[in-house]
């Protein structure tokens, strides 16, 4: 199925938390729309993250068996949201889907996808330490790259570099 058919099917089965489809578009001078490149994605409510993924995995017409990627993004310093982005792949039907959820920076929290895709464990740990996102229900939410006592979330746009770490200067 192409993206349009997948989206229509998600609407037809009333997938929980589905908000809208966002497709790449050309810039429009009259409405001052800057346009968007990239691939189409569906936007969902963060609270229904796990239920939505369950539908994607278990629906016989979708069967997304594979979580290709789970990552996050901080779009801009003045933006109030962080993004959590998920790439799904169905080996059986040979189609893909990109899923996106907006989390407010002040309380970035989302249910953990590990209950549906166990492959999400390390991805969520990395998102957690780099962006400060809490994945509720993660079985092992330790840091994976940074030291355990690291202060701050390096991939956030407003991150301030440390002056020293354990007595070693960073300048």
């Amino acid at each position: 199925m192409d993206f349009k058919a997948i989206y229509d099917h998600l609407r037809a089965v009333d997938a929980p938390g589905l908000i809208e489809a966002d497709e790449p578009r050309l810039p429009d001078k009259e409405t001052k729309d800057k346009g968007r490149s990239g691939m189409p994605f569906v936007r969902i409510e963060p609270a229904s993250f796990v239920d939505f993924l369950l539908v994607c995995r278990d629906d016989p017409k979708l069967t997304f068996e594979l979580l290709v990627d789970l990552t996050a993004s901080d779009p801009a310093a003045d933006d109030e949201n962080l993004w959590v982005l998920v790439q799904l792949l169905s080996v059986k039907h040979k189609h893909r889907l990109a899923v996106k959820a907006y989390l407010p920076k002040s309380s970035a929290s989302i249910p953990s996808a590990t209950a549906v895709y166990r492959a999400a464990q390390w991805h969520e740990r990395e998102c957690g330490e780099m962006y400060g996102i809490t994945f509720v229900g993660h079985p092992d939410p330790r840091n994976i790259l940074l030291p355990d006592d690291w202060v701050g979330y390096p991939m956030r746009k407003d991150y301030e570099f440390p002056k020293e770490y354990h007595g070693v200067s960073c300048e």
């Binding site: 030291p147 770490y165 354990h166 200067s169």
Partner: protein, 166 residues
């Protein structure tokens, strides 16, 4: 020397203790098996047949710091790794030497400005004897660095205190 040379039987050599100990040391600098990033690939090339670090007696890469004389810091050191590097250095027995190989180990390299967890040079935690420039350095450069270290050992007095400290 000339007075002593006729004084013993054949097959007896006379020399200075400093010279003998330094000769033994500088021709058996055993490095530790220890690579952190892309510089380690060049270090492996130095160990292989084409460049052959064994010509200098430094080809016995030891898998434990207790048996090693030389730590070649080949790659990017971040803060989390830096504490392990320091512990490994502390576990090596004296005399011990450190080569900072490449731009990262020397001063942070390409991560100097925006590498939030990269240590800006391994000399902030352990003393470095020889710095090698390059990103990564050619295998010949590592051999040159090893020869510089041998020169340094050759100049070191072993059984008497140095007349001056630089």
């Amino acid at each position: 020397m000339a007075l002593l040379e006729e004084a013993f039987e054949e097959n007896v050599l006379t020399t200075k203790v400093d010279w003998l100990l330094n000769w033994a040391r500088l021709n058996s600098i055993w490095p530790m098996t220890f690579g952190l990033a892309c510089c380690a690939i060049e270090m492996m090339a130095v160990g292989a047949a084409h460049h052959d670090i064994d010509r200098f007696g430094a080809g016995a890469f030891r898998a434990t710091p207790r048996q090693a004389d030389l730590m070649i810091v080949a790659g990017t050191v971040n803060f989390k790794m830096g504490e392990r590097v320091k512990r490994l250095y502390d576990q090596m027995s004296s005399p011990k030497y450190v080569i900072a190989m490449g731009a990262c180990a020397t001063g942070g390299g390409p991560y100097y400005k925006y590498g939030y967890t990269v240590m800006k040079g391994v000399d902030r935690i352990i003393p470095v004897d020889v710095y090698i420039a390059g990103c990564p350095p050619r295998p010949e450069a590592l051999l040159e660095g090893l020869m510089k270290l041998q020169d340094k050992i050759r100049r070191t007095p072993v059984i008497r205190k140095p007349a001056f400290t630089a």
